[in-house]
C-alpha cells in the first residue's frame, strides 16, 4: 500500500476512531494520541492490511485496546479533573445552538451512566452505523451479547427520555 492509497482508504476512518477513543478517554488530547498511534500501526502494517476482512474494524479494535491500555496504565488524565473553564469544549454545532443545549447534554449524561459495554454497542450501532457482525468483531463479543447490550441500552434510554418528558424538560427547539 502506498501513501496515496493509505490516505484515501485508511485515513478517512480517523473520525470514527476518534469518537470511539473518546468513549473510553474523555480527554481529547489522549483520544487524539490514540488515533495517531492506531494509524501509525496501520501504516507500519500496510503490507499485511489486505489480510484483514475489514481494515476499518481492525482499526476500531486497536483503538479500543490502546484506549483500555491507557486507562489501565494509570497516568491517564481525565478532562473532568481539569478546573472549570479549562474544560475541553467541543465545537458548537449549529444544531447545538438551535436545540436547547441542555437536552443534548442531558442525553449525553444519560448515556454515560450506562454500563460501558452498552455505551460502546450503542455508539457503534446508532451513531456510527455498524452491522452487528462488525460490532462483535470490534468488541470481541459474541453476536447475541451485542444484541442484548444494544437492547438494554435503548430500553434504558427510552425510559429515561419518558421520565424527562414527564418532568417537563423542554425538548422543543
Amino acid at each position: 500500500m502506498v501513501l496515496e492509497e493509505f490516505k484515501t482508504r485508511v485515513l478517512p476512518v480517523k473520525n470514527k476512531l476518534y469518537r470511539f477513543a473518546l468513549r473510553f478517554l474523555s480527554n481529547e488530547d489522549e483520544a487524539q494520541d490514540v488515533v495517531q498511534e492506531v494509524l501509525i500501526k496501520a501504516w507500519n502494517k500496510r503490507e499485511e492490511l489486505h489480510l484483514y476482512r475489514s481494515v476499518e474494524a481492525w482499526c476500531m479494535q486497536v483503538t479500543r485496546n490502546l484506549s483500555l491500555n491507557r486507562l489501565k496504565s494509570g497516568h491517564y488524565r481525565d478532562t473532568e479533573e481539569l478546573p472549570d473553564g479549562q474544560q475541553a469544549n467541543h465545537e458548537q454545532s449549529p444544531y447545538d445552538q438551535a436545540e436547547t443545549q441542555d437536552v443534548l447534554q442531558t442525553i449525553d449524561q444519560l448515556l454515560q451512566r450506562l454500563p460501558p459495554a452498552q455505551q460502546q454497542v450503542l455508539q457503534l450501532r446508532d451513531m456510527e452505523g455498524y452491522a452487528y457482525q462488525e460490532i462483535g468483531e470490534i468488541l470481541e463479543m459474541p453476536l447475541a451479547q451485542v444484541k442484548v447490550n444494544l437492547f438494554r441500552a435503548r430500553k434504558t434510554l427510552r425510559e429515561q427520555l419518558i421520565k424527562m418528558d414527564a418532568y417537563g424538560i423542554d425538548q422543543h427547539s
Binding site: L3, L11, K14, N15, Y18, R19, L22, Q32, V35, Q36, L39, I40, W43, H90, E91, Q92, S93, Y95, D96, E99, V103, L104, I107, D108, R125, D126, M127, E128, G129, A131, K147, L150, F151, R154, K155, L157, R158, L161, I162, M164, D165, Q171, H172
Partner: protein
C-alpha cells in the same frame, strides 16, 4: 414516508429489531421533518446522535502531524545510523565471503577442476578437536576486539550527528 410506517419503525427500533437500512430511514425522517409530538423524544435522541458524530472530528492539523510522523520514519535507515558497528560487521562479512569465494574459485581453476580440490580447503588441519576449538575461539576473539576498537573511533563520529541534529532543530 407515511407517518404510520415511521411509528412502526420507531417501535421496532426500541425493541432492537430494526435493520441498518430502517435505522437510516428513521434518522433521515427524524432529522429533517418536524416530528409529531409523540415522536419528540425519538427526534431529540436522533438529533443527539447526529450532532455527536458530525461535530466530533479531527482536523487537517492532525493529518499533517500524522504524515510528518509517517514520512520521517524510514525504519531501516535509523537501524544503520544508530548502530555504526553493524556497517563494519556487514563489510567484514562481505570481505570474508568474497575472499572465500575467490580462493575456492582460484583453487578449482588452477588445480584439476574436480570436486576433490574443493574438499581440500575444508579439510581438517588439527588432530585434536579441543585444540581446534581453542584456536578458533582465540582467532574470533581477536577479530572481535579489533572490531570493537574500530567501533570506538566510529562512536566519536556520533558527536557530529548529534551536533547536526541540534542545528537542524534550532534552525526551522
Amino acid at each position: 414516508m407515511e407517518l404510520t410506517n415511521i411509528r412502526e419503525l420507531v417501535e421496532k427500533y426500541w425493541s432492537g429489531e430494526t435493520s441498518l437500512e430502517e435505522e437510516a430511514q428513521l434518522r433521515d425522517y427524524l432529522n429533517q421533518e418536524e416530528a409529531p409530538a409523540d415522536l419528540k423524544k425519538e427526534a431529540t435522541l436522533f438529533r443527539y446522535y447526529q450532532s455527536n458524530t458530525r461535530f466530533r472530528t479531527l482536523d487537517e492539523k492532525f493529518d499533517e502531524q500524522l504524515m510528518q510522523r509517517i514520512e520521517q520514519k524510514p525504519a531501516k535507515q535509523v537501524w544503520l545510523v544508530y548502530r555504526p558497528w553493524l556497517q563494519g560487521a556487514a563489510a567484514a562479512v562481505f570481505v570474508l565471503v568474497t575472499g572465500l569465494f575467490l580462493v575456492t574459485k582460484w583453487n578449482t581453476s588452477v588445480d584439476n577442476p574436480t570436486a576433490e580440490t574443493t574438499a581440500v580447503i575444508a579439510e581438517d588441519t588439527y588432530e585434536d578437536p579441543r585444540l581446534a576449538y581453542e584456536q578458533t575461539k582465540e582467532a574470533l576473539l581477536l577479530v572481535s576486539s579489533l572490531m570493537n576498537e574500530g567501533t570506538q573511533h566510529i562512536e566519536k563520529l556520533e558527536t557530529f550527528s548529534e551536533a547536526q541534529e541540534t542545528v537542524k532543530t534550532q534552525i526551522p
